[in-house]
Amino acid sequence: MTIAPERPQTGSLVEQFEYGLDAPICLTWELTYACNLACAHCLSSSGRRDPRELTTSQCEAVIDELQRMQVFYVNIGGGEPTIRPDFWHLLEYAVDHQVGVKFSTNGVRITPERARFLASTDYVDVQVSLDGATAEVNDYVRGPGSYDTALRALANLRDAGFRDAKISVVCTRQNIAQLDDFKAIADAYGATLRLTRLRPSGRGADVWDELHPLPEQQRELYDWLLANGDHVLTGDSFFHLAAYGEALPGLNLCGAGRVVCLIDPVGDVYACPFAIHDRFKAGNLLADGGFQHVWQHSELFTELRSPQTGGACTKCSAYDACRGGCMAAKFFTGLPLDGPDPECVKGNSEAGLAGARTVPAASQDHSRRTPTRNEPVMLTLQRQPPVSACAESPLAGFDPS
């Protein structure tokens, strides 16, 4: 058993966060692994519903517990959460129990009627995913038609009088040049732009090499955020860029298991939405005595709240600002957790990435087994490379002589 370290009574907020809080501040709850899309970089490898997904009454019990713990709001995602038949019920149940909701959607179910309902509620925030400012760039990773779906949802929200929707963009090699265009789209829809980092999580691991921003694009992103960051949300996405010099607005530490947490559709509790892997599973809220018990007492979270060593990073002049970057990004690229981030702006992970490393195998995958009509085309090139020639042709290697 790990013994919780003695918490200092004073110290900065960041230091206090490192010791963890009684309840998370940034809790994501994925309601289903089912999704109408099949984005190439899906962090949760979503597609098919899991038969063990929490029932409506189990979800209500989770909300009751969040209310008791005073988790004031939850980020609901998936999969595509709105395709759960009880989604709208759970949304109302949460806000009726003092748990505000921000939900992420690809827009598929945001009809004019739903948009009017959303505009009439307080405490509900909507975040529409868009990974390109043009259909060409967006649909390349999110699949044909997904750009139009997202913009239609944004138009419905605006026309219904919903104020300040969020447009959530995963920054990639293909869209870094479009930051100003994204901002213009947000302005046109009365929305706020949210930029996030592409992490090599879920199916993101398969496409990370191709999609993650190049070093000079990271610099471009950093400069753009310095100039525009006050009006853009970033969460904890870019604190590894603080190593360029000035810190950016946003949460400047890895909050995994300290202030950040994920509840997945079957009730498994992970340290972070980008860390869906057995290595970062703290427990299950059905099997292990409820969410509060897992949050406050799991061995994994106790370990994450203990002082961490910076490894090779402690020698770096930027360590105080960058703190070695994102745990999930290191893990899923097979780098040591106490060394530099794979996108270390000082180039200190280049040797590690070039050397021998083992990328951990996924511990869950809810991707659809057969391709669908609206799957992004790059997937057929990227996903599931043939294990051997034999997997492509049953006669490969057959030598009749």
Binding site: G11, Q16, L21, D22, Q70, F72, Q98, G100, D125
Partner: protein, 88 residues
Amino acid sequence: MLDEAWAVSPSVALRPEPFGALAYHFGNRKLTFLKRPELVAVVESLAAHADVRSALLACGVPTEQHTAYAAALAGLAATDMIRKREAA
């Protein structure tokens, strides 16, 4: 401010934390950290006192710190975490 009557805003909830408390405003969705248990005590007792000064005194805050506390409270007022009430 010291002579005015204040209280926690109706749409604000306080959650105790080891370092003090976390205040959440359900209306503007702002999250604020009260980084000292003493400040939490003052904020919670505002509504029960005729003015800020008597809340500070009741919580044992020495007079020479009153201006500093008033500044912290003004910061909370800026995001509507606390609100001025009409004197009873």
